[in-house]
């Protein structure tokens, strides 16, 4: 395949892709006096419009995407992103409104925020929400800050946070950023929180347990209320990572599981596009006892109008420049309203059906460390293929040859060589079958011709890339031909 040059490599002096209207005000005498001006922007591109258009169109064709095919990344919930949601977010009454506009001038935007908060409250059973966090990890940070603030109000913020060994890496990282040390909680033989280990670890030094439910194996934490009771009885808070909420909508609510704080990922459960890594949105929901600590400003209803309430003495403060990723929230609201109550339940039911269909179809061919029933995702491993010297990485790369995006790799950490598969509810059965067939062929190939897997992918725009060299000798920007690239 043809190499697409970097835009800097096709740049040439004097080319333009855009022109501004002529300046319609006098430029004034001594206009530049007193400014620290730069002579030029060294290396900055100069190209024509068609060059920009072809550059990006060609680059786009080198991506796999939900719009192109199956994307079974576990824990990422790569569902279809409805196009009408993009249209809704682009309405000038949302996209064109300035965040410093007085509340009276932004009633439509405030109503999006308020309605979404209320709907998320109903879906999760939590009492209040903030939409300010820009992503899941941002939500985790906010959630832990709320807990810390509430504990500090009681006189002791405590020192430790408990996190199961199956948790996403952002959990310990967010707890750390909030000033906590982390103690890991073991998983039991079913893949759930080990109650004995929790009992032992849950001391008066512990601020919170951060639990993902269903957890990263796709297993529901059946003991969640007992877990909550243990944590609460020793004065701690129960934090739920809601990354896997796609399994539970209309089925059960974290609020009724005695969860104190939850974050959601609107870019997972509520279908806003992942955009190649973001933007997402990570709303945080809390029970009444923590509401006063939520970031400000908050949106409130007053005499039929919506107002921004800035005066919140117990608030942890701002976490975003303005109101978070507002246009992402518009898209999530559109998704919730399109589905409605019945649709939300069906969403979770079918997400779970699709995952179990895949699980049943691949059982026996791939090793399943935990036999416990699973909900919206399942985690196989490369244990059987390792006997032929084939790793999960080889399996993943070979899947690319079959036109399928690989599952999430090597996570959760409690399953060595993990392949974590989450199909979501929007996939057609035909796509699931293509994936299942590909996985079956690969299991066969692993036995018969392992070399084929090790040298995969064979039909992608590039072959397997040397990630070790990239890290050892980092080239993180274009410098110019014949010049030494930037070395870290």
């Amino acid at each position: 395949m043809k190499r697409e040059p970097l835009i800097f490599e096709v740049s040439d002096k004097g080319k333009r892709a855009f022109r501004l209207p002529k300046l319609d005000v006098p430029s004034g005498k001594d206009a530049w006096q007193g400014y620290p001006l730069r002579e030029s922007i060294e290396g900055f591109p100069q190209v024509s419009e068609i060059e920009v258009v072809r550059h990006y169109t060609r680059l786009s064709q080198w991506n796999h995407a939900v719009d192109i095919g199956f994307y079974p990344l576990g824990s990422c919930t790569m569902k279809y992103n409805p196009k009408v949601n993009e249209r809704a977010a682009a309405l000038p009454g949302f996209s064109g409104v300035h965040p410093q506009a007085p509340g009276e001038y932004a009633q439509g935007c405030l109503e999006v925020i308020k309605r979404t908060e209320e709907l998320l409250g109903e879906i999760t059973g939590m009492d209040a929400f903030t939409l300010q966090p820009a992503a899941g990890a941002h939500g985790e940070l906010v959630g832990m800050m709320l807990i810390r603030a509430a504990l500090a109000d009681r006189g002791d913020p405590r020192r430790l946070v408990l996190i199961p060994d199956s948790a996403h890496g952002t959990n310990p990282s967010s707890a750390h950023l909030c000033g906590y040390r982390v103690r890991e909680i073991k998983s039991d033989d079913s893949g759930r929180v080990d109650m004995a280990d929790l009992e032992k670890a849950m001391t008066p030094e512990v601020a919170a347990l951060m639990v993902t439910n269903p957890n990263t194996l796709g297993v529901f934490e059946t003991n969640i209320k007992k877990i909550a009771a243990v944590v609460h009885s020793r004065g701690g808070f129960l934090y739920m990572d809601g990354a896997n909420m796609n399994a539970l909508c209309g089925i059960c609510r974290p609020g009724e599981m005695d969860v104190d704080v939850i974050h959601l990922n609107l870019h997972k459960t509520f279908s806003t596009p992942h955009g190649g890594g973001g933007p997402g949105a990570g709303p945080v929901g809390v029970k009444k006892a923590l509401e006063a600590y939520l970031p400000g400003p908050a949106v409130a209803r007053r005499e039929g109008r919506l107002v921004l309430v800035e005066d919140r003495p117990k608030s942890i403060g701002r976490v975003s420049g303005f109101y978070g990723n507002f246009l992402v929230v518009v898209k999530a609201l559109a998704y919730i309203l399109a589905l409605g109550a019945e649709g939300l339940k069906e969403m979770s039911e079918v997400a779970v059906l699709n995952a179990n269909y895949i699980r049943k179809s691949l059982e026996g061919l791939y090793h399943l460390k935990y036999r416990t029933p699973t909900l919206h995702e399942c985690v196989f491993s490369d244990k059987l293929q390792k006997e032929h010297g084939v790793s999960n990485l080889d399996i993943a790369k070979r899947l690319i040859d079959y036109g399928v995006h690989p599952p999430t790799m090597s996570f959760p950490l409690i399953v060595p060589g993990a392949l974590m598969i989450e199909p979501t509810e929007t996939e057609p059965r035909r796509e699931l079958d293509v994936f299942i067939e590909a996985m079956r062929s690969i299991a066969r190939e692993a036995k018969e011709s392992p070399e084929l897997l090790k040298s995969a992918p064979h039909v992608s725009p590039v072959r397997r890339l040397n990630e070790t060299a990239a890290a050892r000798n980092p080239v993180l920007r274009w410098i110019g031909e014949g010049k030494e690239p930037s070395r870290g």
Binding site: H98, E111, V330, A341, E349
Partner: protein, 448 residues
């Protein structure tokens, strides 16, 4: 509207294969005592036409669009070339995940690499990351990064810093040992260097300086870094209006060690505050302390150039609690839009864009200052914003202008009690001369 793709036959056969009689069977592990047992109190689903009507109604409740607005203060209305919309809305850019599988993500990865390069060129930094949430969180991450670099306990923030940025920094540092100190501003609106100098000592991790600052005034970055470096403290340069980088000297060439800011001006709509784009660059010496994702260049098995996410040993999915930040999902699609915007504007276009902003703001300031009692609060050089002093109460003036469908700016007294009856006015290339003249004549009427 359901987006589910299964036919009734599919469902039946798939349930059978999965060994279940109904979907209910899959949820047996969820104890009865907290099963919902009722339908969610969410309205019935809407079809696409119904949804659009609903959303259009909601959007039409925002009266902002009926106003002539000069609001800036961290979010700016600039021209967005058509190609930015057209190209960024391609499903191949909008609907992939983070490019963890590089062989099928070369598009996104090369875009990130180009974006990193563009940010380096603009800021004069050696390296830049793949994006952070927004300008305020980028400033906060820059502060945390500086403290990791030299381990000192105090950070100096200018009083002329965007108040929201200050609050986000306060939130992010609340549970650390970092102490925040404030340096004042002078009559020119710039950082008071004497005050700054008196507050920097050997325990200062960094001096943060926003330029143009919250008041729109261009700072003397070189002098500030000189004072910081004399005490071996770092200089963190923050830009809330990144278009300024098109014409003003790159912070890296004026002594900044870390540059952070808001990239919203590069092709992102106002969007009631988001999604925006936090950028962060630094000297290559601090590479291991840089938070967030990085794309790097490498070769494939056949020696062809390709791109991968790299140096992930800094990140949470590898390092967990020892990571440089907890960030995972970032603002990749916003960075894509910024890259398309900047490459479309090009070298000459971006410089002209910046120049027009200066000229228009200058014209507006001069025109408004011709009104008796009205004038600039600060004497320093402005980029595309300035603080206007009014002879009457801001509330009364605002009310009068609002009745004429004009939002003239952000009143400053709430965040700066010393700036009573002052407002922050933003003018960009998107304002015509007629817009500015209308503001002036309306203000004249209101003050009469």
């Amino acid at each position: 509207m359901s987006y589910i793709s299964l036919s009734d036959t599919d469902k039946r056969e798939m349930l059978e294969r999965a060994g279940a009689a109904s979907p209910e069977d899959f949820f047996q592990g969820i104890p009865e005592d907290f099963r919902l047992g009722r339908t969610l109190d969410v309205p019935d689903g809407l079809t696409e036409p119904e949804l659009l009507v609903f959303m259009e109604n909601l959007a039409s409740k925002s009266d902002y669009g009926r106003c002539l607005s000069f609001l800036g203060a961290g979010a700016y209305r600039h021209v967005i070339p058509t190609v930015v919309e057209t190209l960024s809305s391609r499903g191949e850019f909008l609907t992939p995940y983070t490019p963890y599988q590089p062989e099928v993500s070369q598009g996104t990865l090369q875009v990130i690499f180009e974006y990193q390069t563009l940010i380096c060129q603009l800021t004069g930094m050696d390296i830049a990351n793949a994006s952070l949430y927004d300008g305020a969180s980028a400033a906060a991450e820059a502060v945390l990064m500086a403290s990791r670099v030299n381990g000192r306990p105090k950070i100096l923030l200018p009083r002329s810093l965007h108040p929201h940025y200050r609050r986000v920094i306060e939130t992010y540092t609340r549970n650390t040992d970092l102490e925040l100190l404030e340096a004042g501003y002078g009559d020119d609106g710039r950082l008071d260097l004497r005050d700054l100098e008196s507050k920097i000592d050997d325990r200062t991790t960094a001096v943060l300086i926003q330029s143009p600052n919250y008041f729109g005034v261009v700072e003397d970055l070189e002098a500030v870094s000189g004072l910081a470096h004399a005490r071996k403290a770092l200089t963190v340069a923050v830009a809330a209006e990144a278009v300024s980088l098109g014409l003003l000297e790159a912070p890296g060439r004026l002594g900044a060690d870390i540059a952070a800011g808001e990239g919203q001006s590069f092709g992102l709509p106002l969007g009631f505050g988001g999604p925006y784009l936090g950028f962060l660059g630094c000297s290559r010496d601090f590479l291991r302390q840089l938070p967030g994702r990085l794309a790097g260049m490498t070769d494939d098995a056949e020696g062809r150039r390709g791109f991968v996410l790299t140096l992930s040993t800094r990140e949470q999915h590898i390092r967990r609690e020892k990571a440089t930040s907890n960030i995972c999902t970032n603002q990749a699609w916003c960075a894509l839009r910024a890259a398309i915007f900047l490459e479309t504007m090009g070298h000459d276009g971006l410089r002209e864009l910046a120049a027009q902003n200066i000229h228009k703001a200058r014209y507006a300031l001069e025109t408004l200052s011709a009104i008796p009692g009205v004038g600039p609060r600060f004497s320093g050089r402005a980029f595309n914003e300035f603080v206007l002093r009014l002879p009457k109460s801001w509330e009364a003036v605002d009310k009068g202008l609002r009745s004429r469908n004009i939002l003239a700016g952000v009143g400053l007294e709430k965040d700066f009690p010393e700036l009573k009856d002052c407002l922050l006015v933003n003018v960009t290339e998107a304002h015509s001369r007629a817009d500015i003249d209308r503001l002036a004549s309306s203000l004249r009427e209101v003050l009469r």
